[in-house]
Amino acid sequence: MATTSSESDSSRKNTDNKENESKDEQNNMFECNICLDNAKDAVVSVCGHLFCWPCLHQWLETRSSRQVCPVCKAVISKDKVIPIYGRGNTKQEDPRNKVPPRPAGQRTEPDANTGFPGFNFGDGGFHLSFGIGAFPFGFLTSFNFSDRPHGVPVGGQLQQDDHYLSKLFLWIAVIFIVWLLLA
């Protein structure tokens, strides 16, 4: 292993030379706390610890449920690290954009109306309801194709439940009509 010996040789030479050592110490200040190399695409956490963005990103992915600073265990997140731009670096690109960005979280806005969904005529969506006038079961068959009030992606589970319910009510209505016709 040629590099091994040459590297340890050079480190020995450094100890002999005081000037080099102090230079070394200065360089140490800008070493990434994870790879121990000079920080590349440097970012700093709000708690003040320096990392290469690729290193920190990998750590955040490794423990995505508990994202803490490797040095001081303060809570950190991708959005709260600060990229560092030195002089002479012409491309001042945010290093956080280089690594594939984390997929955005999805959240569902709570429903604005608290009443029964079948009575929901208020928010300008498209409704299709049918029923036989005299019967109070008409509302059961109303379909709700309205958009959500704020255009927020809807949780898949909720949508599925709605779908299932309207199908169920449709069948109840059909059976009821057939029974009426036969009776």
Binding site: T4, C35, T62, P70
Partner: protein, 154 residues
Amino acid sequence: MAGKTPSEKRLHKELISLVKEPPPGMIVDADQAEQNLNTWTINMQGAEGTLYDGELFQLQFKFGSSYPFESPEVTFVGQNIPVHPHVYSNGHICLSILTDDWSPALSVQSVCLSIISMLSSCKEKKRPPDNSFYVKTCNKNPKKTKWWYHDDKV
């Protein structure tokens, strides 16, 4: 060697600094480590004025390819396994930084220091209460054990 992985690069840096400035009472077997960067043996002396004063121990570090994002596998090996409430007779160590509380900012040096301070603060030399059961049933890799960290006194 042009194609050194980040993990090898970091291990190399750690080895150089451990050889250059070893913590008191610790000597890394540098030749062995240079031959195989993934397994290191560290000779450790019990600290002066503690229950382990004058004793010699051997610590083995095994590094996976995702080091330092994953913790190393650290066990006591050799003839003399310290008798300590957190050290099993097969060399496994119950220490939170070796699993749940691992951080990539920790190093071989800081793990060694933690272990030596764990030994030094011991008041009474004894094995863990579940030693014989654990040693019979555990996996060879201590990282496979679901450790239950409950005692932070020693």
